[in-house]
């Protein structure tokens, strides 16, 4: 017998009855949209990410880039034209190598959805988000979150993401603030390997 057969035989011998599973936790949020958006902004801010509520995305990106001395931004090919800032060099990702991505000042993308209660952004490699490496290697990430895509609770987000995974096998990355470590004497340092600065534009 090979390892597969041995393991399956052993686990089958221990099979039993399933307990009753009741999902009595909250699966539907209760907040009205304006409160939901406000909660999301508050929670993102607590992760020490920069969060701004904006009307004009392109203009806001330009401001942010100026403030952070960012000149060259990677963008996914499907980024909406009205989000593309003037005055910043945009490099469209068409299979840039990790080394090339590392040379850029930052990246500008959209997002699939966001979770208010945890201040989380979900990226699923859609046309406006680009592949995973794009939002990982550059040290500065400007991410646009549309108000209409903010849900209140984790279960509401997982339900939507589950559909994308089941249908298209999309890779999913959940981002909650910039990368961080507390490994030395529990003292928190923001920014290790992922983007050290995260700017969230809520539009």
């Amino acid at each position: 017998m090979n390892a597969r057969e041995v393991i399956l035989e052993r686990v089958a011998a221990s099979a039993g009855e399933s307990p009753v599973l009741t999902r009595e936790y909250r699966r539907r949020g209760r907040l009205a949209p304006p409160e939901r958006v406000a909660l999301f902004c508050e929670r993102v801010d607590e992760y020490r990410a920069e969060v701004r509520r904006v009307e004009d995305v392109a203009g806001a990106v330009e401001d942010v880039c100026r403030a952070h001395a960012v000149r060259r931004l990677a963008v996914p090919a499907g980024l909406p034209a009205e989000w593309r800032p003037a005055g910043v060099e945009l490099v469209e990702d068409s299979g840039l190598t990790p080394g090339e991505l590392d040379q850029l000042d930052g990246v500008l993308t959209g997002s699939t959805l966001a979770i208010a209660e945890t201040g989380t952004i979900a990226l699923t490699a859609g046309p406006r988000e680009g592949r995973r490496a794009l939002t990982l290697v550059p040290d500065f990430h400007v991410c646009v979150v549309e108000e209409s895509r903010i849900v209140e609770l984790v279960p509401e987000a997982v339900a939507q993401l589950g559909e994308l995974v089941a249908r298209d096998r999309r890779p999913v990355t959940l981002v909650s603030g910039p990368s961080a470590t507390s490994d030395i004497e529990l003292s928190r340092v923001e920014g290790v390997h992922g983007p050290r600065r995260l700017v969230v534009l809520v539009a």
Binding site: A3, S18, P19, L136, A159, S176, I184, G191
Partner: protein, 458 residues
């Protein structure tokens, strides 16, 4: 998996002499405990989430054969390869074979308790392949030949000056500052080049979804994203108990885990991948399903709940024993209360018989466990097993005598009277005083309650 080199009481004695360790541990366990308390109190439905977490895990164990086959076919359908390993050596051999097939001498690795358990790094080194630990704390331990003392913050027993000196000797010659920010920057620079050029990545996993074949890694630094995204080849070693039935079940664990573990509402990064995505991430994916003692744990109806564990480490931070001795005293990659029930079961009780006794049975671990593992109950169960495995004739004779005494009121009254006289050797230096060294033995009162009752009411 290696058995502890010495018994828990012996190992704990050395650890307790280390003042730095005790100060660091106190600070770490108290800080994380407070943070956890705050973010758990924030959720009105925490208990309902715990109930669901426990039920989902129990369901997985009850039908593990079905879920494993379902997971295997989902991963294959999504373009991944699935391997099965009975023990650590078989799992390590799969990783080594993948590395050899691609002709690499170096792999980048995400922090993973499962591969610590299989001693993957040593196995790869024997094949001439260097596994680079990319989690900050794991890198520190690897550079110094040290090992983990806490599931979440493995290098918590080291201070910043020690780490600065270590980096100056190894990856960052000339580094002068011991500011954690500068030290993290040194690690970033050293690892960045490794990430950008690595051809094979190795990871463990927090969850595997049977329904979709999705693998989930939860982390903070971004090294997990690097290792699972940039190298063209990825091997994931997954304990068979890490499955969850459906993608929707993640809605429970992605709330329970970060709040219990780091005390955050959500950890900075969670990566979920479902097979190979064209033009995005690794184009060759392997998953190794590991037994290594898990099916042995599964056979024990009381002990199997240890396999519910999602490795959050909340039980370590509240444990009065762990927070004083630290993780090294447990002699295992799984320290603390969960280690005290998991290690002896994975290895067999005869190879770690002292661990179930490394507890005061106060029950704090059960209260914080996000998947409601009744650790005190399993500890008691394993204590009985340990005694059955290696009975002490003297202890058994003593227990029989006690039983005989308690059976009759007359014998009991006589024993009480005798006890008042015979207690002397226990409180004075002598053979029996070792039993009272770590316990406070209250002297028996001059008059027992029964004697008093008789005198007053007769």
């Amino acid at each position: 998996m290696r058995a502890p080199a010495e018994s828990f009481p012996a190992a704990a004695r050395h650890e307790l002499e280390n003042a730095q360790l005790r100060a660091n541990l106190r600070n770490a366990t108290e800080t994380i405990r407070d943070k956890r308390g705050r973010v758990v109190a924030e959720l009105p439905d925490w208990e309902e989430l715990r109930d669901a977490g426990r039920a989902i895990k129990a369901d997985v164990l009850a039908h593990l054969d079905r879920y494993l086959v379902q997971f295997e076919s989902a991963v294959k359908a999504a373009g991944g390869h699935v391997h099965w390993a009975l023990d650590g050596a078989e799992a390590n051999a799969v990783v080594a074979e993948v590395a050899r097939a691609h002709g690499v001498r170096e792999v980048v690795k995400v922090k993973s308790l499962t591969t610590d358990e299989t001693e993957l790094n040593q196995a790869l080194a024997a094949e001439g392949i260097h596994a680079i630990e990319t989690d900050f704390a794991e890198l520190i331990l690897q550079l110094d030949g040290d090992w983990s003392s806490h599931i979440l913050v493995p290098a918590i027993h080291r201070n910043r000056t020690e780490i600065r000196d270590l980096f100056a000797r190894t990856i960052a010659p000339g580094i002068a500052s011991d500011d954690p920010r500068e030290l993290a920057e040194a690690a970033r620079l050293y690892l960045r080049e490794k990430f950008l050029t690595a051809r094979v990545g190795v990871s463990g996993a927090n969850f595997g979804v049977a329904e979709t074949g999705t693998v989930c890694v939860v982390e903070s630094e971004g090294n997990g994203r690097m290792c699972t995204t940039l190298p063209p080849v990825l091997v994931t070693v997954l304990g068979i108990e890490k499955l969850v039935p459906s993608f929707a079940d993640l809605e429970v664990f992605l709330q329970l885990l970060p709040r219990s573990s780091t005390g955050e509402r959500m950890n900075p990064y969670t990566s979920l991948w479902t097979g190979v995505t064209e033009g995005d991430g690794p184009q060759e994916l392997h998953v190794v399903l590991l037994d290594n003692g898990r099916t042995r744990v599964l056979r024990d109806e009381v002990g199997r709940q240890a396999l519910h564990c999602i490795r959050c480490s909340a039980c370590l931070n509240v444990c009065p024993v762990y927070s004083r001795t630290g993780g090294h005293a447990y002699g295992s990659v799984y320290p603390g209360p969960i280690g005290a029930i998991l290690t002896p079961q994975l290895l067999g009780i005869e190879r770690a018989p002292s661990l179930p006794f490394a507890s005061s049975l106060c029950g704090a671990c059960y209260e914080v466990c996000p998947v409601k593992i009744d650790i005190p109950r399993v500890l008691l169960h394993l204590r009985a097993e340990a005694v059955r495995a290696k009975p002490s004739r003297r202890e058994r004779a003593a227990m029989r005598l006690v039983g005989w005494t308690f059976e009759s009121a007359r014998r009991f009254a006589l024993a009480q009277r005798a006890g008042r006289i015979l207690q002397r050797p226990l409180v004075r230096a002598g053979v029996l005083s070792s039993w009272t060294r770590t316990r406070d033995l209250k002297p028996a009162p001059r008059e027992s309650f029964r004697d008093w009752w008789r005198r007053e009411r007769a």
